[in-house]
């Protein structure tokens, strides 16, 4: 790549981010992906579609979400000033809805009457069920049996919204298996069904399309922080499971070379234990779920089980654009373990009165470490991708409390 070339013109026309991304699916899905690609390319430059999307983001989701100077947290921590992009204030409590609204509107334009999705923690499932209810679309969400058991409240939420939740009992019975099952549904139902993928992974055009729906985060934040402070931040921090909230924040800043970028993976019980969900930090490139990217895999190429306190980061792959940004050296990928994330969860809650999702707590934890080594006149912007209400049971259980 030339020195002056932009980081924002990926993927290429075949959906590749350098060696990553692409379309690795069975022939049975190629027709559906082509139809989706055509619709995506058509409507993402269509002013009428974009106006409808903007109106929904404003009046239904509650955008723009504010940025907030976490003064007390910054003071207690010492070092750089920490700013939070408040995606936790969105309708349904996380950034996920930015994407599900976009894809559901696209589904309507394509004449699809049925929506399917996969979900791990249930946040993407709830965000999908929500927009399906709003648009009057039939909705089925696939969820691993293990996740159904540990995320009861979200399962009930989806059912209240009129969505059918299908428990998946194959494989590890978690997110990756739910994704496999959703793909199988799609193969048999492509005529009337739209598959809403919740992260920036999967076959092209999903990584690019989900990113485009999520960059509203970074576009807003880039303007807001300049309005508030007069300049760009010194660093961006966001957690990375599949990586949709992170790419949404990072992408509009990629060509601001003076802004350092940090993606935070889940180190689980510690990278050295092997029990983690950090493919960028400790995995190898491979092919899974339709794209080439960094994966958690064994020496035979089998996908291995991941571990994280946060169900939303519990995924063995990662979006291909992150894989490319890592190799290009434009973004740094680091890892935060369960204990560090929990400590940040408590600290933010007590100093600012903001209860973050456990996913976002990973980003907060790394931002604290980073800021501590910086000057007080410097700024770290953290994507607070979701609120922690959904994690009450998990955190309480760790403290031995039954709620």
């Amino acid at each position: 790549m030339e020195k002056n070339e932009s980081f924002t013109n990926m993927p290429d026309e075949r959906g590749h981010f350098g060696p990553y991304g692409g379309i690795f699916v069975a022939e049975t899905l190629m027709g559906a992906l082509q139809e989706l690609r055509q619709a995506y390319e058509k409507y993402l430059v269509d002013p009428v579609f974009l106006a409808e999307l903007d109106a929904d983001l404003q009046h239904y989701v509650g955008r723009p979400s504010p940025i907030y100077h976490a003064e007390r947290l910054s003071r207690e921590n010492g070092g750089a000033q920490i700013y939070l992009k408040r995606e936790d204030l969105n309708h349904t409590g996380a950034h996920k809805v930015n994407n599900t609204i976009g894809q559901a509107l696209l589904a309507k334009r394509m004449g699809k009457t049925r929506i399917i999705a996969e979900t791990g923690a249930g946040q993407h499932g709830v965000a999908t069920a929500t927009v399906a209810a709003r648009l009057g679309l039939e909705c089925v969400v696939y969820m691993g049996e293990v996740d159904v058991a540990r995320q009861e409240a979200n399962v009930y939420r989806m059912r209240l919204l009129g969505t059918g939740v299908r428990s998946v009992c194959s494989g590890c019975r978690t997110l990756k298996d739910a994704l496999n099952e959703a793909m199988r549904d799609w193969v048999a139902t492509v005529d009337n069904t739209f598959y809403i993928i919740g992260t920036v992974a999967g076959p092209h055009p999903y990584p690019a399309m989900v990113r485009d729906f999520q960059t509203i985060i970074g576009r807003e934040a880039r303007q807001q922080i300049q309005d508030m402070t007069g300049s760009l931040p010194d660093a961006l921090v966001a957690c990375v499971g599949g990586g949709s909230n992170a790419i949404g924040l990072f992408h509009p800043f990629l060509d601001d070379k003076e802004v350092a970028i940090y993606g935070v993976e889940a180190a689980g019980e510690g990278l050295e234990t092997g029990h983690h969900a950090a493919p960028l930090c400790a995995g190898d490139p491979g092919v899974l779920h339709g794209n080439r990217t960094y994966l958690m895999e064994d020496s035979d190429g089998q996908i291995i089980e991941t571990h994280s306190i946060s169900a939303g980061l519990d995924y063995p792959g990662v979006g291909p654009e992150h894989a490319w940004l890592k190799d290009m050296g434009r973004a740094n990928y680091v890892a935060i373990d369960d204990q560090e994330a929990l400590a940040a969860f408590h600290l933010l809650t007590r100093t600012e009165g903001i209860i973050p999702a456990l996913e976002s707590s990973h980003a907060v934890a790394y931002a604290l470490q980073l800021a501590a080594g910086m000057r007080p006149d410097q700024k770290v912007l953290v994507n607070l991708s979701g609120r922690g209400d959904k994690d009450m049971h998990t955190v309480a259980a760790i403290e031995g409390i039954q709620i």
């Binding site: 496999n180 190898d284 895999e297």
Partner: protein
């Protein structure tokens, strides 16, 4: 001429449609697979499709996923699968063997190493389910360098331009996926498959196999009238699954089902 092409040429001379059974290597135990392969040949298999177990078989149904899970309990790797083919070849030099699986185990091994080891073991071709023609260039080059056939899928949704890409990339034969869950009578499905096969024949002279959803002898016989090869997978794997507790019986069960299909097909 590859062993696969020679096989199809020979069958054509004899007016016979190829029967391609699929089983997953290592299901339910790695020690049983080679024996099953010989059983299948005895029962009338012309080509054997051997599944390479993968943790995330996205394009397969639950029956074949469970077969993968059973094999992976014994940590069956790509190298183990090569070992099984090598053992099979000690007493069978003529029946072509195709590996069917997903890209990641091959990606981790390396394309050249995969092709070299497969050829050495006596493998004749590979069908990598999650590699469409668009992403196949390097893999196909590696396979061709070792004179292995690259088998590709075609689907009801593959339009003319895609069929041409598939025909360009493929060798040996083209595997047409007759989608599961299609409503209507068996005849209607058959007519649709026949129409699509005709379309595929406009872009290639390669033999055409039909698979996915062929459950019994009647269906196999019907497909044999319009295709050059009939692939049967889940129906066989279900027999394996049903007899997990009596592994001695599995070979006979597989033979029985395949013989029924063979007889019905040959009566056409």
């Amino acid at each position: 001429m590859s062993r696969i092409s020679a096989c199809f040429a020979d069958l054509k001379n004899r007016g016979r449609t190829a029967l391609l059974p699929f089983i997953t290597a290592g299901d339910p135990h790695p020690d049983l697979t080679v024996g099953f392969m010989h059983d299948l040949v005895e029962a009338g298999a012309d080509i054997i499709e051997l599944g390479v177990p993968f943790s995330d078989p996205m394009a397969d149904g639950p029956v074949i996923q469970r077969a993968s899970e059973r094999a992976l309990k014994h940590h069956v790797s790509l190298r183990d699968v090569f070992g099984m083919v090598e053992a099979f070849r000690r007493t069978n030099e003529q029946t072509p063997v195709i590996l069917m699986g997903y890209l990641n185990p091959i990606e981790v091994m390396g394309y050249e190493e995969f092709a070299r080891s497969a050829a050495q073991a006596g493998v004749d071709g590979a069908l990598t389910v999650d590699v469409p023609p668009e992403e196949s260039h390097d893999l196909v080059q590696a396979l061709r360098a070792e004179a292995l056939d690259a088998v590709f899928l075609a689907a009801p949704t593959s339009h003319r331009q895609r069929l041409e890409m598939i025909a360009d990339a493929a060798s040996g034969f083209v595997y047409y996926v007759s989608l599961k869950g299609v409503t209507g009578s068996a005849n209607l499905v058959l007519d649709e498959v026949a129409a699509k096969l005709k379309e595929i024949r406009e872009v290639t002279d390669m033999p055409l196999g039909v698979g996915f959803g062929i459950k019994d002898a009647q269906m196999a016989a019907a497909m044999a009238k319009i295709a050059d090869a009939v692939v049967v997978g889940s129906a066989l794997v279900s027999r394996i699954e049903a007899n997990i507790s009596k592994p001695d019986k599995i070979g006979a069960e597989l033979k029985q089902l395949l013989q029924e299909m063979r007889t019905a097909m040959d009566a056409n």
